[in-house]
């Protein structure tokens, strides 16, 4: 694909130059000539060597994956789960991962990147604070304890943590019916990955910090690296979506956001979401390398807008799926879907509406839905309460993000 910005190449040289002198901060593409190619895959080279590096993000994606597997395996085996092991994995201490490379990456951990973005948790946009950061990290820690309490084989019941046999799967439910594994996985996709992507690495406060822009324009590379700081920051955003994917096998493996982007994209109601996000990442990266910051900023807005749809659509999808199962097994059949929905609703708090540096849905709004989900007697076990309220929450989310509940609840090929 050939990508060109507005071209003024035919104008007299001096006139062009005087325009570029006239404004020091908003020197947009309209005044400049760019002529660069957006590659067909996320592959960028300099001097014959790749300039792409998101190893730290791949590590964190795989860490979360292993934490989910740890809970899943203990549930399947009916054995006691060790909360301390999950806590170690969260902090990446004591070499608890089976993937040795993760243990070796001692400077990478999920916890210190949970609710830790520049725009929200340093610059306090979107109503964020360190108190909130502390609370959400504690919430994840609590999931480890909840999972441990539910493990060991006792049968889950209203007000009793334990195991529920869901078809071929065994799931651990906390006493209130929430599945700690899903709260962890989907919640962390928001509090860590989403937050880092849209509120940190795609933040101009980070991308343009210090002399980043000047260095990127002048191709000043990071010491011992083949990339500029800004190129790398962009890659780090990319890595939180695609860093865990493995496309080499016969059936491609997609992790977390990459997987759920595809699942939303599989619904024709949401058009070419997957292609749009992927293209925006490639286009933005090519623009950075070319020094075309206006195009970069356009791609940032596209990514922020489109990625925010994913947890919203999935939240509505799972709320409605759960509602349809409330009559089965005293409601327990619904809890997996509702727990997925719970985690995706948590994620909505970390979205970033372009141009506002605030989430599409405020923390207070998100918290109200979350506390509503478990407001009945014994939490999710109060199926009558949920049956009365789920449609309202689904409607609220869908409306805010600009789609309909009908579009999200049925996947239209």
């Amino acid at each position: 694909m050939k990508f060109k910005n507005v071209l003024l190449a035919s104008l007299p040289v001096a006139a062009l130059f005087s325009v570029s002198c006239s404004n020091d901060d908003n020197n947009t593409s309209q005044e400049q000539v760019f002529n660069y190619t957006v590659p067909t895959t996320y592959a960028f080279e300099r001097s014959g060597e790749s300039t792409v590096d998101y190893a730290g993000q791949t590590n964190r994606v795989l860490m979360l994956d292993e934490m989910g597997t740890e809970i899943k395996n203990k549930a399947a085996a009916g054995t006691v789960l060790d909360a301390a092991k999950l806590s170690d994995m969260y902090n990446n201490v004591n070499s608890q991962f089976s993937n040795v490379a993760l243990n070796t990456a001692t400077d990478k951990q999920l916890k210190n990147k949970t609710a830790a973005s520049r725009d929200f948790f340093v610059n306090f946009n979107g109503g964020a604070t360190i108190a909130e950061q502390t609370a959400v990290r504690n919430l994840f820690q609590a999931q480890f304890d909840n999972a441990a309490a539910a493990s060991g084989g006792e049968v889950a019941a209203a007000g009793v943590a334990g195991t529920y046999i869901d078809g071929n799967s065994k799931r651990l439910f906390a006493a209130n019916g929430l599945e700690p594994q899903q709260v962890l996985l989907k919640g962390m996709m928001g509090a860590c990955f989403m937050d880092q992507i849209v509120n940190n690495y795609l933040s101009k406060n980070v991308l343009d910090e210090g002399s980043n822009r000047e260095n990127n324009t002048n191709k000043v590379l990071e010491e011992g690296k083949n990339y500029t700081k800004m190129e790398h920051l962009w890659d780090e955003a990319y890595g939180y979506i695609y860093g865990g994917d493995d496309l080499t096998g016969t059936s491609p493996v997609l992790k977390f956001w990459s997987s759920y982007i595809k699942q939303v994209d599989d619904d024709s109601d949401f058009g070419s979401l997957r292609e749009d996000i992927e293209l925006a990442f490639r286009k933005g990266r090519a623009a950075i390398t070319a020094g075309d910051y206006a195009t970069r900023d356009t791609q940032i807005a596209i990514i922020k807008k489109k990625i925010a749809l994913v947890p919203a659509v999935r939240a509505v999808f799972y709320l409605k799926e759960g509602k349809g199962k409330l009559a089965t097994d005293s409601g327990a059949k619904a809890f997996h879907a509702l727990s997925e929905g719970y985690g995706f609703i948590m994620s909505l708090r970390y979205t970033n509406r372009p141009g506002t540096n605030s989430p599409y849905m405020t923390k207070a709004e998100v918290d109200a839905i979350l506390s509503g989900l478990t407001a009945g007697t014994n939490g999710l076990w109060d199926v009558d309460y949920l049956n009365d309220h789920i449609d309202g929450w689904a409607e609220q989310i869908a409306t805010r993000f600009g789609f309909t509940v009908a579009q999200a609840e049925t996947v239209t090929p």
Binding site: D24, K111, A131
Partner: protein, 371 residues
Amino acid sequence: MKKILLLIGFTAFFAACSSDNGGSDSSGDGYDRTALLTNWADNLIIPSFENYQIKVAALQTKVGDFTAAPSETGLGEVRTAWIDAYKAFQYVSQYEIGKAEQIKFVSCTNAYPTNATGIETNIASGTYNFSLLSQLDKQGFPAIDYMVNGLADDDASIVAFYTSNSNAAGYKLYLTNLTARLKTNVDLIVNDWNGNYRAAFIGSNGNSASSSVNRMVNLFVKNYETYVRSGKVGLPAGVFSEGITFTNKVEAYYKNDISKILLNEGVKATQDFFNGKYFNSEVTGPSLKTYLDYLNVVKDGQRLSTIINNQYTTINSTNALLGDSFSEQILIDNGKMIASFDQMQWNVVYFKLDMIPAMKIVIDYVDNDGD
């Protein structure tokens, strides 16, 4: 400079484009930086250092009395003088420029937690050079804290270190040397300001990275962010350690019940500087506040300077909820420490994202949290 240079050959244009960050003497916005620097030097910086000098001299006198004839009464007088000097220090830590910068004034005056083991090693060996980097955590107010509050659990036992201890002479000498070091440093700084430095400081009235206003603004924000917000509250409260708290990393750990007093003084010093308030007076002069107002910086319909001062009010009321001992506060209800950190962070945001860009000043230190 952010311009993209596409063409070559028009070097005249090139030069014209590249001068906005150079070493010009003019700030470009018309604000009288000379008056600002003069107010800072004459009404804030020099009086604050001179006050600190007096308090350090008083401490030195009390230490002299105590080491000449150690007693519990004398120990109490040293402690009082130490607290007075420690409070006075809070007003000068943001002025690490000129001679203070050369001698690493803040690092060799207030590095904590102090290194008790290293101090004991120094006392035992009797050979130490306080000007070495490796000695930074074995001197200053935190080291004196250990010497007068931390050697034992009760006053009689502390005094015994200076009387009956087999190396009582070594303890007395160390306390004497610690205090002398403080005095030497402040004398150097005050002499420099009252010598040539004042004129050099005021004369550097441009808008280059090395000019006085730019340097002071950076020092002011760095002091507020690093030494006040993080050092006094954030670090012990576990904000930078994934929730792991450190009751021993509070300021004045051995005394333990003055961390809040020192925090309050530290916050007040920064607010006074922001408002250009003369030291120990209600009079104000040219300041960051008047500079912002001159530039008419408004945020959400309100003057930024008002927002910042309102935030200081919130900070003070939030900090007032803390106990005198931060070590205890962390254990009893760390949430209050986090709340203080959060309120102080708001002014970091206003300083770094709103004030500094409005003054077209470049922040010369960067949070490094990449991976």
